[in-house]
Symmetry: C2
Subunit: 80 residues, 2 copies
């Protein structure tokens, strides 16, 4: 079994209201040295694959077909 | 400026309906070698700090006070 994590972040030019809300909240709590906050998500997948190459290939397909929205999001894949 | 990423995941014993929904969706798409899916989030923070130690200390406070819910979530901090 191979554990794979997909990190999904908004593309640089896409507005991120959730990140902005966190930024404002942190400012209000006294954390005033912050220049920017962006929120993304991560998805951990345990899968059976014969090797890391096959696992990565599978998770790349999952990312492109379901997990990430390629119009507005970037993703990266990390294998354990 | 230091870029810090906080990775927030549900604790192992906490139910994750979003992860479950992704698991079922992937199964329905033909990805049938999956043993489990868990969804978490990541928060990227650009902040001014005099060094990495100070940045980490600040972001640890942010995580405990706002970003993560310590009852049900774990977090880890990565500095760039």
């Amino acid at each position: 079994m191979i554990k794979v994590t997909v990190y999904i972040t908004l593309k640089k030019d896409v507005l991120d209201p959730q990140g902005k809300a966190i930024h404002v909240a942190l400012n209000n709590m006294g954390f005033d040295k912050i220049n920017g906050v962006r929120q993304g998500k991560l998805i951990e997948i345990d899968l059976d694959a014969k090797d890391h190459d096959q696992a990565k290939e599978q998770v790349k397909k999952m990312s492109e077909q379901l997990l990430a929205n390629p119009i507005i999001e970037d993703y990266s894949i990390e294998l354990e």
